[in-house]
Amino acid sequence: MNRFLVVLKYELKEYFTNKVFMGLTIALALFGAAALFLPRFVDMSGFTGVKTVGGADDADEDQGEKDIFLYVDQVGAVRAEILQEMFPEVLWQAAEDADALQKAVESQEAAAGFLVTGKTEYEYFVFNKSMTDHNAAMFEQAMKLFYRMDYCRERDLDLEEISLMYDVPITVTEQILNKDSGSNYWYCYLLVIIVFMLIVYYGQMIAVSVTNEKSNRAIEVLVTSTSPNSLLFGKVIAGAIAGVFQMGVLLGVILLAYQVNREQWGGMLDMFLHIPGEVLAAFAFFGLGGYLFYAFLYGAMGALVSKTEDVSKSVSGLMVVIMLVYFFSLLQLNNVDGEVIKVLSFLPVSSYSTMFARIAMGTVAAWEIVVSFLILVLSIAGTGLLGAKLYRMGTLRYGNPIKLGAALKDIRKSN
């Protein structure tokens, strides 16, 4: 235990005195926090729907900055005041004729132009149509309204009464008795991606760190100084702590910054960042467990090669498993109570994301969580011990990468 702590301390010091590691952690956290504080200093009401910078006095000044939309009404159908109400963000102006309208749009003096040629016909002019351009659809709604108004007026009908009949408001109060998948889905998705990134990024770092000890020949001094268990466990757990620290700082700062600025964002990021405590706890236990499980395997894979350029080849099989689990997990988020995800949630290779998803979005019994977590913990211990044996076995085997099958065979033989 004592030697394990020596290794752990030494490896942790390596991470925490690494300027790139600490600099990146601080920079990313500051960047995330700054982005979430943005609505306090910059008017993002167009995006968030919440006016946070400046007051009512700015409204008149903003008039001059509004986009100009032109229209030409050849049939007398358009009601300018209704258009202005429906498109409050733009300034509506009537153009002299179709040519003037087209020229103004071409010269980009006007952002858009509408040539109304009939009560149910119009042409839309725009210089560059963006992917999110909904002006035509909106104008179509306006045209329909004008048509209905004319229709009702000609027949002496009450448009308001008819509209109310068609669009009768219904009051609904949802009583969600267990989980709300709709609101939990996105942060679940986000957290699964975070664990996946942690595993791949830090796993690779751990594997490279183990291989480095072989490539710089320090490994013979190390394995004759202490047990391989202390060495591998210390190294892997230090990597895990460093990863959790970096991700914890990042996630903590972002969640806190969002909580502080939630009102300014109008709650629009709730689906990602308003995560309930029990979901975060499940994420911490299963995410960390899965991360450790794979970190030991990465460490063992690193011991099978003696050159850092061979590490990616050595871990490629592991990567395939991780990728498959990742895609299966994301696909199964739509069906968290299905049989496939139930099975996956008990396997140590996939429980880190699937059991967590079931807890966040589905129905899961307490015993299932306990059993799954126990399997994960035992598997971590198993992979740790196996990893240490592979690490020890690979100590002086330089040269070509050792195949996992051959390595396991050698371990069986030496036992």
């Binding site: 020596v6 010091k13 004759t224």
Partner: protein, 305 residues
């Protein structure tokens, strides 16, 4: 403290490379392992250090099974290596702590050894920024940092210049004087001759010669004499031995400054001395021959092949 290696056998890929190695050494003495490349020295050392497991045989310390992890051992492997991107002092303290020292004691010891090996000014530098020779000295300091009771050095002089070799020689002598048990392998016979009371020559996985160096030298030098003359060359002298004293001695070897004669069975040195006295040869050098370790090594390994 007595370390014994008994009947160690080891195979790699079905081929036996050690065929029953037997060695022994006590504290306050140094055992020199000699052998050509691939003879089995490093494999023997690695089995001692539990890097490899022997197929059979045993290693005992004071009659009990030797478990390296239970002792403070300073091991300098043949494949040198530390962390190139980490500070010298940090990795020395780390290695000392791994071998059971407390952090404060480890830092003091690291500073002491860096100073002793004349590399104290590099303690806060990254290892990769040091010259090869200084890296080698740091490696040696890291070997000794835990104040080991047993010191095992595999080819410690390889890569050292004469000045650094001298420092290392002094350090090894100090370790022996401090009653440590020292084992080291080397190709450089002069160093082994200088430090070692005991030697073991390993050839093709077998100990072909072992024992106390003085006795081995005596045994290899018995019945042999050196002879040089003032008034004739070595060639003429060898010719006269062949012609005039063939019933007394034969020329066994010719060195740059003298001949080595081997007495015929039943002849003693007084008879040869009398024959020389009765001749016109003006004897410049006459006496017992003490072979160098190099001579013994070449002779022994040559005989085996």
């Amino acid at each position: 403290m007595k370390l014994e290696v008994k009947g160690i056998r080891k195979s790699f890929g079905g081929k036996e490379v050690l065929h029953g190695i037997d060695l022994h050494v006590e504290n306050g003495r140094a055992l020199g392992l000699l052998g050509r490349n691939g003879a089995g020295k490093t494999t023997t050392i690695r089995i001692l250090m539990d890097v490899f497991h022997a197929d059979s045989g045993e290693i005992l310390l004071d009659g009990r099974k030797f478990v390296p992890a239970k002792h403070r051992i300073g091991y300098l492997p043949e494949e040198r290596g530390l962390y190139p991107k980490r500070k010298v002092i940090d990795q020395m303290v780390y290695l000392a702590c791994l071998r059971g020292m407390g952090a404060i004691e480890a830092r003091e010891s690291a500073r002491k050894w860096l100073a002793r090996l004349e590399v104290a000014e590099y303690e806060t530098r990254k290892l990769e920024t040091l010259s090869k020779g200084n890296q080698q000295k740091v490696q040696l300091a890291a070997t000794l940092v835990s104040n080991p009771e047993i010191v095992i050095l595999d080819e410690p002089f390889s890569g050292l210049d004469p000045v650094n070799s001298q420092i290392l020689k002094e350090v090894v002598n100090e370790l022996i004087a401090e009653d440590r048990l020292v084992i080291f392998s080397s190709h450089q016979m002069s160093y082994v001759e200088e430090f070692c009371d005991e030697i073991a020559i390993i050839n093709q996985g077998e100990v072909v010669l072992d024992g106390r160096l003085k006795e081995i030298k005596k045994e290899y030098g018995s019945n042999r004499l050196v002879l040089a003359a003032e008034n004739c060359s070595l060639e003429e002298l060898a010719d006269r031995v062949k012609r005039e004293w063939a019933e007394l001695a034969v020329v066994a070897d010719r060195k740059r400054e003298f001949l080595i004669l081997e007495l015929i069975e039943g002849v003693d040195r007084r008879m040869l001395m009398a024959a020389l006295a009765g001749s016109d040869v003006e004897v410049e050098r006459f006496g017992s021959y003490e072979p160098s370790l190099n001579d013994i090594f070449v002779k022994k390994v040559g005989e085996e092949e």
